[in-house]
């Protein structure tokens, strides 16, 4: 096990910059997720950690040691790819045992014992003699996981390991991966484009966009206190309002913001936290956001009239898309509403300044 550090990593390809000054500190035993839309650089980051790409500049450290000159095969990493990448000419057992040709099994185990242990760990005991093409997608993925874990790597790297599987299987496998990771306490870097998956599985996550890290934090921090507009709209659903500060109401933490002619009282973002900088004053332009579950029908404050455009029944709740002037707002409520015209509102404390 080791902690993992990326310092100012930059990766330029012939005509594009894939990574621009990426710095991350990943603690020993942590489940760390890189999440972002396709092309954001998350997979390049993972490949740089693995040594499959070398950074144009910047440093990667394993347990404090620069690994620039260490080739992939000597880095003690285990990788699981989206397409499983099982060796098609080897049985399940041979696949899992492959890495043990180059490293002794941990705890003085024999190769056979280690392989049996790992197949057991991923619930594939008795499947050792199967060929990869006799397995389902989910089973193949578990073999790939067992194979990556067999030499007891310092770092486990998972590159969108579940995106080829259907939704229900993905949730089951996700729980299994999390359980195994906790059990082995192996430092894990997980790449996904699915923000919901990232929130569900991670100890901490980094939201990436255009080759740069937008925000690093626990799932709750990233969800509740998005640092940028990108994070606010990429992680979970959100309503973004851009407007101009009109003024401050006395000693209150709230300010008044004018958005398209309407005025809203919102939290100024300074209560209990010190983010540095200056509190917003009249005339500043800014953006704040309100989560769909915080927009309420017939609330006391910040009321505005909307016309319902579409309602989506989601089971537990219903999601509404509604027109407010030229813009569309989204809100969710457990109680269905009839009719087209509604009055929505939100509590100033439920807003988040960006």
């Amino acid at each position: 096990m080791a902690d993992l550090e990326l310092a100012g990593v930059r990766k330029a390809f012939a005509d594009t910059v894939a990574l621009d000054d990426v710095s991350l500190d990943i603690a020993e035993g942590e489940f760390f997720t890189l999440v972002g839309p396709s092309g954001c650089g998350k997979t390049t980051t993972l490949r740089t950690i693995a040594g499959l790409e070398s950074p144009t500049s910047g440093t990667v450290r394993f347990g404090g040691e620069d690994v620039a000159d260490v080739p992939t095969e000597e880095r003690d990493v285990g990788i699981v790819f989206q397409n499983y990448a099982l060796f098609p000419h080897m049985s399940v057992r041979e696949n899992v045992a492959y890495g043990l040709k180059f490293a002794d099994p941990p705890d003085g185990q024999s190769v056979d014992e280690r392989v049996a242990d790992l197949l057991d760990l991923v619930d594939l005991s008795g499947m050792g003699d199967r060929e990869p093409d006799q397995l389902s997608g989910g089973q193949q993925q578990r073999v790939a996981l067992a194979r990556a874990l067999a030499p007891a790597p310092d770092v486990l790297l998972l590159d969108e390991p579940m995106s080829a599987l259907d939704a229900r299987l993905r949730e089951t496998l996700r729980r299994q991966v999390k359980r195994i990771q906790t059990e082995l306490d192996v430092t894990t870097v997980y790449v996904t484009h699915d923000q919901a998956e990232a929130l569900a599985i991670s100890d901490r996550l980094a939201v990436m966009s255009d080759g740069a890290v937008e925000q690093v934090g626990t799932p709750r921090e990233v969800y509740e206190e998005p640092a940028t507009e990108f994070v606010a709209s990429f992680v979970g659903e959100n309503n973004l309002f851009r407007g101009e500060v009109v003024g401050r109401d006395g000693d209150d933490d709230a300010i008044t913001v004018a958005v398209d002619g309407a005025e809203f009282r919102v939290d100024d973002g300074f209560d209990g936290r010190d983010r540095g900088g200056e509190a917003p004053t009249a005339g500043d332009r800014l953006t704040f956001c309100v989560r769909p579950e915080d927009l309420r029908v017939d609330a006391d404050a910040n009321r505005f009239e909307v016309a319902v455009e579409t309602a989506e029944f989601l089971g537990e709740t219903t999601r509404y898309y509604a027109d407010w002037g030229d813009r569309t707002v989204v809100f969710r409520t457990p109680d269905p509403h009839g009719g087209d015209a509604l009055t929505l509102g939100f509590d100033p404390a439920d807003t988040r300044m960006l």
Partner: protein, 580 residues
């Protein structure tokens, strides 16, 4: 651990050096000798021979005449003298036109009709890649020659015919037999890649079926047709065995004349002509490779529905049926003719010809060709070829799938034997090794047999490479990366993962190399001169005039070996690399 790691790191460069050294020895050095001999007379470098050839109307026809007397261009219009080079290009052009005329309808039938055995026939269109040219020649002699099956059949019908061989027409037909399947294959592949919805869109916009075909289908087929035509022209320009066996000296092409000069021991002229031909064929091959590289294989989202070949007569079906008859006559009859000739004699059905092959002829004179010797020589040289060509081919395939500086150069150099005719390689090996070469104060000579194996290996390894390289490139990169992350070095990944996965392609390449060696004629016939190291194709050529029966029997043996190799290639391989 450390020592093995170092050893592993050194393996790849060591193999690279070994392969390039071997390639230099077997190919670049002999070809270089030919180049040098073209410009050296009695140890002095001079362009005299080159100029002499260029000014000789025998070689360059009206172009040479025009150098002295430009008025000849007007005076002799339009009845120009072609000269050797002109005639070679002329017959190649005719052959290309014939192959297109014969191949395009085939492409149509293969791409648009459904019938039992369609896939088998489609696979068979790749047969010319492994079919020895001498086999085509003997098939045509057995069918259209003086005692040929078709000639005989026409005579029984009361027609006054003697023989069709020795005419330009039969050479062109033999080339078409050889190359039309390639054109059909390449064009059909492109045709099947055209989406039905494209034609349907054109129709919905108001185009008639014929108009839609002209505006939508033909433009998309054109690159494939041109690719096939260029390939056919190159093959026909460099064709040797077919022209030698069916035309002889009276219809000599450059290759045949080079061979003739060699047999007259006039190596200077032979080298000059060979060099000129080589420059021309290299330029053509370069053009072909450039053009081919620009083609992108597409696959249709929804190919058009195929028409059942059997059913009520429609215009399309009548056309297809008509073509089927032509195809049977052109492609099947020569093979049937070969088989029939091999089992018939003056007394009717006989196995005499086959017995002749295996009987040791203790009574034969030393200069006579012994058939059993030819058979065993062919097998021994074939095995020797595999020992050289398979490792070389596999290694170059590995090299060609790696990214490094200078890879393109190595790629090009390693594919060069495609563009250099066997006659040139044979001439170079003969002058360089069989006659001996001086180095470090010693004179090294190599026997004909070793030189033949070298020539075969040079001709065969590009086919190994072209089978193995796509298979290697097709391996998912993440499989390799997984293995590396598990601790395997690059060389280990190659041994444990990549090579086991391309075993079928290696086997296909091996079969290809064996077929090439067994069928190789061009360089073998030169290197086997005055030596006991003749092979089956050479024996066939020597038998053709005098002993047609044994020649056809030997042809059938070749056909069987070729067919077995072909089945292996078809089942396991990635094809020839020429348009799938």
């Amino acid at each position: 651990m450390r020592v093995t790691r170092v050893a592993e790191r050194l393996t790849a460069p060591a193999l690279a050096v070994a392969t390039l050294a071997l390639l230099s020895l077997l190919f670049f050095y002999p070809v270089g000798i030919v180049l040098v001999e073209a410009v050296r007379v009695d140890g002095v470098y001079t362009l005299a021979t080159v100029v002499e050839v260029l000014r000789d109307p025998f070689f360059f026809g009206v172009f040479a005449q025009a150098l002295d007397d430009p008025a000849v261009v007007v005076r002799s219009f339009p009845d120009y003298r072609l000269g050797l080079f002109g005639f070679t290009a002329y017959q190649a052009l005719l052959s290309t036109v014939a192959a297109i005329a014969l191949g395009l309808p085939g492409a149509y039938v293969l791409a648009r009709f459904e019938f039992p055995g369609r896939k088998t026939i489609r696979s068979l269109t790749a047969l010319p890649f492994v079919m020895p040219t001498i086999l085509v020649a003997i098939g045509f002699v057995a069918t259209f020659g003086a005692t040929g099956v078709v000639t005989g059949a026409l005579q029984t019908l009361g027609l006054q015919v003697e023989s069709f061989t020795g005419t330009l027409g039969i050479i062109v037909l033999a080339h078409a037999f050889y190359d039309a399947p390639l054109i059909a294959r390449i064009t059909a592949a492109s045709w099947e890649g055209i989406d039905a919805e494209m034609t349907e869109t054109a129709r919905s916009l108001g185009a008639s079926p014929l108009r839609a075909f002209r505006d939508v289908v033909i433009p998309q087929l054109l690159p494939a047709i041109l690719t096939g035509a260029l390939l056919t022209f190159i093959f026909s320009f460099m064709s040797f065995a077919i022209v030698l066996a069916l035309g002889g000296l009276s219809l000599a092409t450059v290759e045949v004349w080079v061979y003739h000069r060699i047999s007259q021991l006039d190596y200077g002229t032979a080298s000059t002509l060979a060099t000129m031909e080589m420059l021309f064929s290299l330029a053509l091959t370069y053009a072909y490779l450039r053009y081919e590289a620009r083609q992108r294989a597409t696959s249709a989202a929804r190919p058009p529905d195929r028409i059942a070949l059997l059913g009520p007569a429609t215009k399309r079906r009548l056309f297809a049926w008509g073509y089927a008859i032509v195809a049977v006559v052109v492609f099947v009859v020569p093979i049937v003719g070969l088989l029939l000739s091999s089992v018939t004699g003056p007394e009717g059905f006989t196995l005499r010809n086959y017995r002749f092959l295996v009987e040791r002829q203790a009574s034969a004179y030393a200069f006579q060709v012994k058939p059993l010797t030819a058979v065993t020589n062919s097998l021994i040289f074939g095995a020797g070829t595999l020992l050289l060509a398979v490792p070389m081919g596999v290694f170059l395939a590995i090299v060609s799938t790696r990214q490094f500086r200078g890879r393109k150069l190595i790629d090009t150099l390693s594919m060069a034997p495609f563009a250099v005719s066997g006659v040139v390689v044979g001439l170079g090996l003969l002058r360089g090794f069989v006659f001996g070469t001086e180095a470090f104060g010693y004179r090294f000579t190599v026997t004909g047999g070793l030189a033949i194996v070298a020539a075969h290996a040079v001709g065969a390894y590009p086919f190994v490479t072209r089978n193995v390289a796509p298979a290697l490139a097709g391996i998912d990169g993440s499989i390799v990366e997984s293995a590396r992350s598990l601790g395997a070095s690059r060389a280990r990944v190659m041994l444990d993962i990549e090579l086991p996965l391309v075993v079928p392609a290696v086997l296909a390449g091996t079969a290809f190399a064996f077929a090439i060696s067994i069928g190789e004629f061009d360089s073998t016939v030169i290197l086997a001169t005055g030596d006991g190291s003749y092979t089956m194709p050479v024996a066939i050529e020597r038998f053709i005039g005098r002993r047609l029966g044994p020649a056809t029997a030997m042809g059938v043996v070749l056909l069987v070996v070729t067919s077995v190799s072909f089945v292996i290639i078809d089942r396991l391989g990635e094809g020839s690399g020429f348009g799938g």
